[in-house]
């Protein structure tokens, strides 16, 4: 029997997984856009984004637009790789149950 793959705990968190998936479809996204899409609170969203940043899965950029601070997030190559591996592991774990 083949070894079952481990799921990356950083990616597995529901909100972190949603964030990585959202960021995988865009070039970069603002904090406010991510908050609107996930309906998470500022505190929770900030904490989960920080975890992803510490893992090297997202990169953050701060800038000022019309004197207003803007925080932009983008998925890194490492983050994209982690998400891909997570999906592969999920599919492997689910096996035939994936279609049911």
């Amino acid at each position: 029997m083949p070894d079952l793959p481990e799921l990356d705990p950083v990616v597995h968190g529901r909100l972190r997984l949603a964030l990585l998936s959202l960021l995988s479809g865009v070039e970069e996204a603002e904090f406010t856009w991510l908050r609107a899409k996930t309906e998470a609170t500022d505190g929770n969203l900030g904490a989960q984004l920080l975890k992803l940043e510490e893992a090297g899965y997202v990169a953050v950029k701060k800038k000022f637009v019309l004197r207003k601070p803007q925080t932009l997030y983008r998925i890194t190559e490492r983050g994209r790789q982690a998400l891909t591996e997570y999906v592969q592991a999920l599919k492997q774990l689910l096996g035939p149950a994936i279609d049911s």
Binding site: S24, V26, W33, A36, L93, L94
Partner: protein
């Protein structure tokens, strides 16, 4: 970890990934209004040309339309993230605006904007190219139909009379700018009604 994770939870994670990727890529920008705006602009430029200001009518109206489009688009953009797809489509239309402005300004100033058939043919071909490229990227059949209308207009005007050329051009603007633009506005409004999927 997976020892404590149920099959249902794993399926739920997979479906969350799919829905969030789709959500990120969903086109929440609204561009239907630009087609209506530019349709009106073309009609205004045609009317102004017919009034007797052929040299300035097209460059001035196109320049004003470009400025209005850029200002309104940047106000509407809000915090929507940029996607590669959105940038590709935007690039096509920005390049079209610059090409038309430069071409018609140069033709007007040089006094060579005298052949109506050539003007309609060039304009229709450029619009057919932009609509066609955009439709092929988006795999949008309705917009590709607009491209076909523009290409047909470009060919017909080369062989028709002055009156036929004018009618073809006016009809193409109505179908591909006004009608298509209103269709776009309605389609975008329906898209926005769909609730976002929460994490």
């Amino acid at each position: 970890m997976q020892g404590h994770t149920t099959e249902q939870e794993l399926k739920d994670r997979l479906s969350l990934i799919e829905s969030m990727i789709a959500e990120g890529r969903r086109n929440t920008e609204s561009w239907g209004w630009t087609f209506v705006l530019w349709g009106v602009v073309y009609y205004l430029a045609i009317a102004w040309s017919a009034w007797g200001h052929r040299v300035w009518a097209w460059p001035v109206t196109i320049l004003i339309a470009v400025i209005v489009t850029v200002v309104v688009a940047s106000l509407k953009a809000g915090n929507h993230p940029e996607t590669t797809l959105g940038r590709a489509i935007g690039s096509i239309w920005i390049a079209l605006g610059i090409s038309m402005f430069l071409l018609f300004l140069a033709l007007g100033l040089s006094g060579r904007l005298t052949d109506q058939h050539l003007f309609v043919a060039v304009m229709s071909a450029i619009l057919g190219m932009a609509n066609g490229a955009s439709a092929l990227i988006l795999r949008w059949k309705v917009q590709f139909a607009c491209a076909v209308v523009w290409w047909v207009a470009a060919v017909i005007t080369c062989f028709g009379t002055d009156a036929q050329s004018t009618i073809v051009f006016l009809v193409a603007i109505f179908l591909c700018q006004i009608v298509f633009g209103i269709y776009g506005v309605i389609a975008e409004a329906q898209e926005r009604k769909r609730r976002p999927i929460h994490a």
